[in-house]
Amino acid sequence: MLRRILIANRGEIAVRVIRACRELGIESVAVYSDADAQALHASLADHAVRIGPAAPSESYLLVEAILAAARATKADAIHPGYGFLSENAAFAHACEQAGIVFVGPPGDAIERMGSKIAAREIAHRAGVPVVPGSIPADQSDGAIAGAAHVLGFPVLLKPSAGGGGIGMKAVREEAALLPSIAQARREASAAFGNDTLYVERLVEQPRHVEIQVIADAHGQVLHLFERECSIQRRHQKIVEESPSVALTPALRARMGEAAVRVARAAGYRNAGTIEFLLDGAGDAARFYFLEMNTRLQVEHPVTEQVTGVDLVRAQIAVASGERLPWSQAEIAQRGHAIEVRVYAEDPSRNDLPQAGPLLLYREPVMPGIRVDAGVVEGGQISVHYDPMIAKLIASGDTRDAARRRALAALRSYPILGIRTNVPFLIALLEHPRFVSGELDTHFLDREGAALRSALATEPPAEVLAIADALLPGVEADLRVGQDAGRDADPWSALQNVRV
């Protein structure tokens, strides 16, 4: 077993890994930028090392600073979390060379699966379907149009150097093809300095369904079933769940086996995720390999809740050289889990990220609710980093039980001082098509604007009455309460409390 793990990350995932270390009796080392000197992760770990200024490029992305912190604290392993250096093959290699265990896949596997083209080829050779498509060697308009004709409309034009949605163009008819090629080239060139285009068949209303895998160093590769992540906004997931209502047992088994084949073919080790596009639902549905995320996912708690497997503990065990203690048959889904990502953003201003103080912040504590967060009341959401405040994961014996729990918990989750997407998440979880499970990756493109515009903006009378109570000088009298005398006021006992 490892003795001391440095967590090369911040926020909720750093806190998650620190807690796992504590449960295992492993010492934890946090790293922090100047912006995070007072952050929870930097206080919770057994040791904490400053690695640089606020900008990620000068701190959390700085390989040498992190390796220096590991050497200075004699850490024998590094957990990269997600984001930052987690899918940086050079970082994984550097850890290996420094004699530090990288709690993640081998650097070679990161490299192989980090190239979309190579990953696609690995999946294809492993007998796993990929979305039909190609990068025409001849990048002339005619050749690209020809490739589109071979695939048949609708097609998707993508910058081959790209990521996210930048420069992607859906083409549904001949007339739009040449103008779209020109437009896609222009955007690809502007964004990535490279206008090479990739043409693939467009799946019109796909679901994003991914399979969690974990592999040990002894040849065991397991899958831990699926996560449905179709609720996305600008290519960012905001709701994830397991199981997916679109999967039948037979389809689930086929996708799980496909994911294991890809992981084996990639020479994979540790936790990873195989992302699929799902076209249709049920036994007749088709799935296509999209890409592999060679790290722990943000949404890993969904899998932990339904399988009962602690993925971070399993990651550490695998990195320590241990065998996975289960067979595939021993892993089962039970019940349903839904994760919602709570962001500091303003739904009424096009989801503009928000930075600012958490003047009041109280996590809901109730049965079936898990909150993974890296902040506390009085803390700050910094402008330098991702605006995710927390993940709220609701579990229940059915999808509807989990959904109702998530709603009750969101209504008991006051976050004040910055705008958040909590009201939006509530509206989303109550949307009839979310309730019925009719999801696809364009759900929010279609429904997002209506959901946002329906959010209450005018404060109701109850809110105005509380706001009146918050005027300076009013509170002292109010605290006595109207239902009870001064003796019953809990704060009368709390005179002169200092913290």
Partner: protein, 132 residues
């Protein structure tokens, strides 16, 4: 329903019990300076002392100014100096706090100059384009 029918009891620690005559709610409130924040039945409300006119002004500024609303990185510049654009065209894509922030044309017009570079970290309020 007017606010006068609503009874509020402070429970301490930012917790308020509010009764509107039909039922009660557990709500939360906090004030910082002029800004009063209230969390009520899953909704977040900011009641600030700024006059509505000023708030309106701030809002319309955000919608039309060709500047980033917050510190952000320029990830794509989609236009060239001299180019004519239609209202709603994507001009520049910014990224802040790992989120994409599109800067779109507020109306039909022409880009006179681009005053930012791809990869640049831009500050709020600083013009990104000269647009007319």
């Amino acid at each position: 329903m007017s606010a006068s029918n609503v009874r509020v009891t402070s429970l301490g620690g930012g917790r308020y019990r509010v009764n509107d005559g039909t039922r009660q709610w557990l709500a939360h409130g906090v004030a910082a300076g002029d800004a009063r924040w209230v969390f009520f039945d899953g909704g977040v409300y900011l009641i600030d002392a700024a006059p509505p006119a000023r708030r309106k002004a701030r809002h319309s500024h955000d919608e039309t100014a060709l500047a980033s609303p917050m510190p952000a990185t320029v990830v794509m510049i989609n236009v060239q100096p001299g180019q004519r654009v239609a209202q709603g065209d994507l001009l520049i894509m910014l990224e802040a706090m790992k989120m994409e922030l599109p800067i779109k044309a507020p109306r039909d017009g022409r880009v006179n100059a681009v005053t930012c570079r791809r990869g640049e970290l831009v500050q709020p309020g600083v013009p990104l384009l000269d647009f007319e």
